[in-house]
């Protein structure tokens, strides 16, 4: 960012030496933050570093234990979000707070509806909404129902909601976590439009690339402590990552060159339909060999989700073959696939990956509870189950320790993912399928996950990686297959890939 809209002489937000304690636990320990008019300011930190706690204090959801908050140079005591809104602060939460069956307009004006006498004046409401949406280039359909629009659109509605209430300072909490790459580009455009108009934006994130692309300044928090505020132009992603994690982070995955072996997964002329009954995988062919990682790059909705569901046995296909080590697992059960060499890290870890109410030890035996040593003659053997869990927790760095008997639902997202990875990697099947394996994880955890995936490859397993993160695909894959409109349209060596070409191919623009 060129900082062309930043007015360094006008600080709009100053948070001074903010301390927030929960009991004995210090969530924020002397944090300083200054945001100017027309500035995009990123707050960077690992999961649980105290970013959200800091912003919740700025938005009046929490009260600081000590420290001052100044808005437009004036000290302000915020007791609830109402005070923050009155001071011109708006917040878009990570999980949207919209009324699903209401229209876009109804959601935006909710709580501040214009009235005519005692009647709602929806015509005026709609006019106002269209007006601000045009002013900031946030195009939306004011009459669409929330339940019918995409996540990216819902986010726009949240932003418009804040603007409608007169916000000059916008807090965006992890705004890109559920967006597609296209939607992220659009969001960054919108943010630029807003600062051009004199608004200020604070974004909470742990994605370094987006900070580089959008922010002017970045404040780094680690374990509740203020680390630094840096000019984004003067640092690179490695600097940001090291400051955030407190150690050197390697983005380049150490991947020795090796010759792939025989074919493990062979998908031939696969056809299947999506939940609406529309054909979405249209004659797809794909091969993964021993000792290689094949990455599937593609824009969401081009059939990659359904492809994985068919391979893992969760979805019935229309026709084709899915050979795993020569055995056709097409339209068989997940158990059949597992028995013939398929293990997978599913896209939705809470829905498919874990039984959240089960303890960690029980989750770790989800596929092999029926085998020795975990059970004998249909009776579970608790001792081996427990020691298996202890070993996995140690080896895969699952935190907190000694959590064998804790329900999986009490772990943080990154640690839940580690439980799944521990299970699937230890199953030691010939084929590992990983779908968005690092979604929502911070760089420290991502590093671990990548290491385990590459380890499997190095051990001579076949790995199929499906991810919406192009960087992940490019840094891990030996071969990148681009999926478009239900087919693999091109297949290129990972070492020769670049983002632009991939982007074009993913949009169906070019075939290699």
């Amino acid at each position: 960012m060129s900082k062309q809209y930043v007015d360094m002489s006008t600080p709009v937000i100053e948070m001074r030496n903010i301390v927030k304690k929960f009991g004995d636990f210090v969530a924020n320990d002397g944090i300083n933050l200054t945001v100017h008019k027309g500035e995009i300011h990123a707050i960077l930190g690992e999961n649980g570093a105290g970013k959200s706690t800091l912003m919740n204090q700025l938005y009046g959801l929490l009260k600081p234990t000590s420290g001052d908050i100044l808005v437009n140079g004036k000290k302000i005591e915020m007791n609830n979000p109402r005070d923050a809104i009155d001071a011109g602060i708006g917040m878009v939460h990570q999980h949207f707070m919209l009324v699903q069956p209401f229209t876009v307009t109804e959601n935006i004006v909710l709580g501040t509806e214009p009235t005519k006498g005692v009647k709602l004046d929806m015509a005026t409401a709609r006019k106002n909404v269209v007006e601000i949406s045009e002013r900031y280039g946030l195009s939306i359909d004011p009459d669409a129902k929330i339940e019918d629009i995409s996540v990216g659109m819902q986010q726009r509605v949240e932003i418009l909601k804040a603007l409608y209430r007169g916000a000059d300072i916008l807090i965006l909490d992890e705004p890109t976590s559920s967006l597609t790459p296209q939607e992220i580009v659009e969001l960054i455009d919108i943010m630029h439009n807003l600062v051009k108009d004199g608004k200020s934006i604070i974004i909470i994130t742990h994605k370094l690339k987006e900070i580089k692309e959008s922010a002017d300044f970045c404040t780094i928090i680690r374990m509740g402590k203020y680390i630094d505020t840096v000019d984004v132009d003067e640092v690179d992603e490695n600097d940001l990552a090291s400051m955030m994690v407190g150690r050197k982070v390697t983005f380049v995955v150490d991947k020795p060159a090796q010759e792939p072996g025989e074919v493990v997964l062979d998908v031939k002329d696969l056809h299947c339909k999506d939940y609406r009954g529309v054909e979405i995988v249209k004659g797809l062919n794909l091969q993964v060999r021993r000792g290689e990682i094949v990455g599937i790059a593609g824009i969401d909705g081009n059939g990659q989700t359904e492809l994985v569901e068919v391979i893992t046995g969760l979805r019935k296909g229309v026709s084709g073959q899915v050979l795993v080590n020569g055995v056709d697992v097409f339209n068989k059960s997940p158990a059949f696939g597992f028995d013939h060499g398929v293990s997978s890290i599913p896209a939705d870890r809470q829905k498919h990956g874990l039984v959240l109410d089960f303890s960690i030890e029980d989750n770790l035996i989800l596929q092999n509870y029926g085998e020795e040593p975990f059970s004998q003659k249909a009776i579970l053997k608790r001792d081996p189950i427990f020691s298996h869990a202890s070993d996995s927790i140690e080896k895969y760095d699952i935190r907190p320790r000694n959590s064998e008997k804790r329900p999986a639902g009490t772990l943080s997202g990154g640690n839940q993912q580690k439980v799944i990875i521990a299970r699937e990697v230890q199953n030691d099947k010939d084929l590992l399928i990983a779908v968005n394996p690092t979604r929502g994880l911070d760089v420290g955890a991502i590093e671990y996950v990548h290491k385990y995936i590459v380890d499997q490859r190095n051990k001579g397993k076949a790995v199929l990686l499906v991810s919406f993160e192009l960087d992940e695909i490019m840094s891990l894959s030996d071969i990148i297959d681009v999926i478009f409109d239900g087919q693999i349209v091109s297949s290129i060596p990972g070492s020769e890939a670049n983002e632009n070409d991939l982007g074009l191919m993913m949009a169906g623009g070019k075939q290699a």
Binding site: G23, L61, T312, S333, P346, K351, A378, I379
Partner: protein
């Protein structure tokens, strides 16, 4: 965090305390009604307690409790495995009718053969009743709650129909079946009953209830079958992904649950009723089972205790009219207890509101931060 726990924290985190509190509240509400009616609370509750604490009284309680425990286990088992067996009523009815048919038609068989046969027939009938519903659910996605309620009525009329078949129907004028053969009866010997001064219907069905309690606990906690069924109950998607056959699990769970409810029907018939009347309305054992499972937190041992408690309320309640209090008071108490157990949410919310008043914090935030601290 070393924060001192508030009373509300304590209640909402501890199921046992929560249930005791709900029971106390039930009696409190009952007391209010007694006071409104101008009756002595002490006298009524004193009667309730004294009627169940004598040896004879308690033997009545146990006899009452047998079907409640077993049907309670049936419902609790279904809760654990993610289906809501509201059809225990119908399974109970077909179970007791199957036991009656065997107990009447095969009455000449010797006791050691006939009794297990009656049990088996009842369990099979209950299991079939449960599996039909499960089949409708897994095959065509028909909501099990709706079909179970319908199957309760089908069982009801089927039972009345069978009771009218000449080979089964009473020879006398009673609108009921014949009595089952004495070889099918689980009553203790007259001699023993008189010597110990027990209730005339004292029977050893309670042993079956104890065995079933242990068996259900064992299946749920110790076997791979229990693991599968629970996995499907908690998250069928992850279970399927993990390679468990979800539909087969649902059918198995309903079969076991149905068999238990059917067995409850047999125990009731062979220990207490000895014949089945033509019903004019549903008897409600299945619904009592839901109450017992709720009070027992779906834990087999909890269900056993809850079944005894429910039996005590039912028997003790029937004695309330001796002090001029209406027996319906028991329904008020039971209703209130269930109400407070079911709205455990209230305790959660009270806790949340109190926390919010002190510091408006999102409940998840401190826990998440805590994770960070350990990194």
């Amino acid at each position: 965090m070393t924060k001192k726990k508030s009373f509300l924290d304590f209640v909402s985190e501890n199921r046992f305390i929560h249930i005791l509190l709900s029971i106390l509240l039930g009696f409190l509400v009952g007391a209010i009604f007694l006071a409104i009616m101008g009756l002595s609370v002490g006298e009524a509750y004193g009667r309730l307690i004294s009627s169940v604490t004598s040896l004879k009284g308690f033997s009545y309680v146990v006899v009452y409790a047998i079907p409640y425990i077993v049907v309670g286990l049936s419902v609790a088992f279904s809760f654990k495995t993610g289906v809501f067996n509201i059809g225990a009523e119908g399974q109970f009815v077909v179970g007791s009718m199957a036991a009656a048919v065997v107990g009447i038609l095969a009455g000449n068989l010797p006791k050691p053969l006939l009794i297990p046969l009656c049990f088996l027939a009842a369990m099979a009938a209950g299991a079939i009743w449960g599996v039909i519903v499960g089949f409708l659910k897994t095959r065509w996605g028909i909501n099990e709650v709706l079909s179970m309620i319908m199957f309760n009525w089908i069982a009801f009329y089927l039972s009345n129909f069978i009771a009218g078949i000449p080979a089964i129907h009473s020879d006398g004028t009673a609108e009921a079946t014949k009595n089952i053969s004495s070889n099918a009866s689980t009553l203790l010997s007259k001699d023993l009953i008189n010597r110990l001064g027990l209730a005339p219907t004292a029977n050893w069905g309670i042993l079956v209830a104890v065995v079933m309690t242990l068996l259900v606990w064992f299946i749920i906690e110790k076997t791979t079958l229990g693991y599968e069924l629970k996995a499907v109950g908690y998250n069928k998607f992850a279970a399927e992904y993990g390679g468990i056959h979800v539909n087969r699990s649902i059918l198995t769970a309903l079969a076991i649950s149905g068999a238990l409810a059917g067995l409850g029907g047999a125990l009731q018939l062979m220990g207490m009723g000895s014949r089945i009347s033509v019903f004019s309305s549903q008897e409600g054992f299945g619904f009592a089972g839901i109450v017992v499972a709720l009070i027992g937190c779906s834990n087999p041992f909890g269900v056993f205790i809850a079944g005894i408690f429910y039996g005590a309320l039912m028997y003790g309640g029937s004695k309330l009219n001796l002090v001029g209090a209406p027996t319906q008071l028991i329904n008020v108490i039971v209703g209130t207890v269930v109400f407070f157990i079911a709205i455990s949410v209230i305790f959660e919310n009270l806790k949340y509101l109190k926390k919010k008043a002190k510091a408006p914090v999102k409940p998840a935030a401190p826990a998440a931060e805590k994770e960070g601290e350990q990194k």
